[in-house]
Amino acid sequence: MASFAETGPGRPVVESIRVDKVSPGARVTGAVRAAVVLMIAFIMLLPIFVMVETAFKTRIDVASSPPKVFFQPTLEGFVFLFTERANVSPGRMEEFKQKAATGQMNFIDQIAFQSGQEITGPSQYVGRIINSLIIAGLSTVLSVVLGTMAGYAFSRFSLPGKDDLLFFILSTRMLPAVVVTIPLFLMYRQIGLHDTHLGMILLYTVFNLSFAVWLMKGFFDEIPREYEEAALVDGYSRMQTFWKIVLPQSLSGMAATTVFCLIFAWNEYAFALMMTSEAARTAPPSIPSMLGRGGIEWSAIAAGSLGFLIPVIIVVFALRKYLLRGVTFGAIRQ
């Protein structure tokens, strides 16, 4: 048999590639690699797939062992998550059965009725999600805005003790949440900010601010000063050059910072756990507590987790170009 060195590959090579990379050995290696990658990707995504599946399982299916891969999907988990229910009293049972039979019951009510319950209103979780939206959203906006301003100042002006200040700001971000909450918890209790939206927004803003400042400073450092100098010579004021010239160029940096701050604020659990109890409680601390309320509501938890994940995925997908930069604190450009 003629070797590769003598005959070359079977068909003409029309891409840019080295001779040793088209040998049969190289082709096999390439195929094996691709296979391994796919396998790993599958393993990585398997738990997520499990979560998605569980969200659509009935209580019975969840508790089956061995775990079911194929099952009849249902929205039971979602209904349990978003509604408060009460058992239908025996007296009204007939009435409900009739409604169900004649198709007068809407589909959500039907699901509740399948477990012998009727819907009495939205669950606590709905309120929690709303809290999450408000608190994460507003705190992100605040930290990005303030962070941009301070980042610009740190970048363009010299301040006494600038580096030490920046370092200090950053290192507070490195502490375990619990360390910080002990004094803050007491402080908040005194001022009356405990379990308030304002309190949480401020807290998240501050926590993200250190990073936002540091990130934005880095981004501003990369914008050449010549643009501002030219504008200043042309007669623009500092403020105008900031608005019209510098800020537009920093938008991608702001997007990266937003991604980062949003992911943190949205997923945050420790502060929410310790600094809120009812009124301002966000979703993350609520999800685990759904365990053990009249049984282990895994499907509700899965539904909650899934629902909770979706906004993050949307935002990240929209800002995916900036994701790499944001998540690695500006260390890498794409």
Binding site: P12, V14, S16, R18, V19
Partner: protein, 357 residues
């Protein structure tokens, strides 16, 4: 020692040609230059010879052995990259010794060869340094040393001087050429700089848009360009090219000029045909009684001579060499002659040079 032969070697990317099928025979000890503008295919050709790029069709022979599909390290060639490609975390000595170590040569041989090569290139003072701290010229010398240490049959160089400053380029040019002559190693050298090609090459392969335009010695390529591209590309500035109409033994040129057809060309150029006349700046002489006239558009001082830009009529600006003593004010009229023996003619349709009859 090596001869290199390319037989119908071509490279396609998808349906587009990067190198159209080409034949080339390189003799042992020859310094051949692949010259052309960016994207002409010269680097791709070099990389195919080295094995860093596969051929789409055709065959490559080194010393009559078919190496078309051999691993780059099995072709007995050394490659010098434009950006040096020195291993950043090895010092200079280890960089140079590396190719021999990879082939498991004995320590004694390695040390001896390294010393030889270091002496040749005068870089003893760099041996313990890392590439990161070296100047461009030094880095290139180290890269050359690394290539030399293997005593390859052929050197392949990809614009090695491209990243250097102009004056350093001139020095290195001479060094490389002297080295090559001394060692008599077959060398294939890629560059876009025609001055470099003319200065260094035994033969030049002029390429443009994937096609070989001409293969010849610097003299051939300079004095007898095969087509309009070569005429314009070689020389600084390139050959003057003016289109005219041939009538009774005379070519009618723009600006009301008439140029008598020199002897020996009368049969090559038919009456009534369009023809392009080509002449180099140094073969045109300012002469108050000259046959051709034009208007001075600009003049550059070039040290020992002046380069005049002369407008023959609107669209046709030609370059003439003149002495630097005389003043040629802008806008003034000027007359000049073209040395008949140096004049060349081209067919405007196919752009090829016409032959003397």
């Amino acid at each position: 020692m090596a001869t290199i032969e390319l037989k119908q070697v071509e490279k396609k990317f998808g349906d587009a040609y990067a190198v159209k099928p080409m034949d080339l025979t390189i003799k042992d000890g020859e310094f051949i230059v692949l010259l052309g503008p960016s994207g002409c295919g010269k680097t791709t050709t070099l990389r195919m010879i080295s094995g860093l790029e596969t051929v789409t069709a055709g065959q490559i022979f080194l010393n009559d052995k078919n190496v078309t599909w051999r691993h780059p390290s099995e072709r007995d060639i050394a490659f010098v990259f434009q950006f040096y490609a020195l291993y950043p975390h090895l010092n200079v000595r280890d960089n140079i010794a590396f190719p021999l170590q990879a082939q498991h040569e004995s320590q004694r041989v390695i040390q001896q060869r390294v010393r030889e090569v270091v002496d040749l290139l005068r870089i003893e003072h760099l041996l313990n340094k890392r590439p990161g701290g070296l100047s461009g010229g030094d880095k290139q010398r180290v890269a050359l040393a690394r290539a030399l240490v293997r005593r390859p049959a052929a050197f392949l160089m990809d614009e090695p001087l491209g990243a250097l400053d102009a004056d350093l380029r001139e020095t290195m040019r001479a060094e490389i050429r002297a080295l090559q002559l001394r060692l008599n190693v077959t060398t294939v050298y890629v560059t876009h700089d025609q001055i470099e090609a003319m200065a260094m090459g035994d033969r030049i392969v002029v390429m443009n848009t994937a096609v070989v335009q001409q293969i010849g010695t610097p003299t051939e390529v300079y004095y007898n360009p095969a087509n309009l591209f070569v005429a314009k590309f070689i020389g600084s500035p390139g050959m003057n090219l003016v289109q005219g109409n041939c009538a009774e033994g005379v070519i009618h040129l723009p600006g009301g000029n008439q140029y008598p057809l020199p002897d020996g060309w009368k049969n090559s150029i038919a009456r009534g045909e369009k023809v392009i006349i080509g002449f180099r700046p140094e073969s045109a002489h300012v002469n108050p009684n000259g046959a051709l006239k034009g208007e001075v558009y600009a003049s550059d001082m070039h040290g020992s001579y002046a380069m005049l830009h002369v407008n023959m009529d609107g669209d046709n600006v030609v370059h003439l060499r003149a002495d630097r003593e005389t003043r040629y004010p802008i806008g003034s009229s000027i007359r000049f002659d073209i040395d008949a023996a140096m004049a060349r003619f081209f067919n405007p349709q196919n752009e090829l040079a016409l032959r003397k009859n």
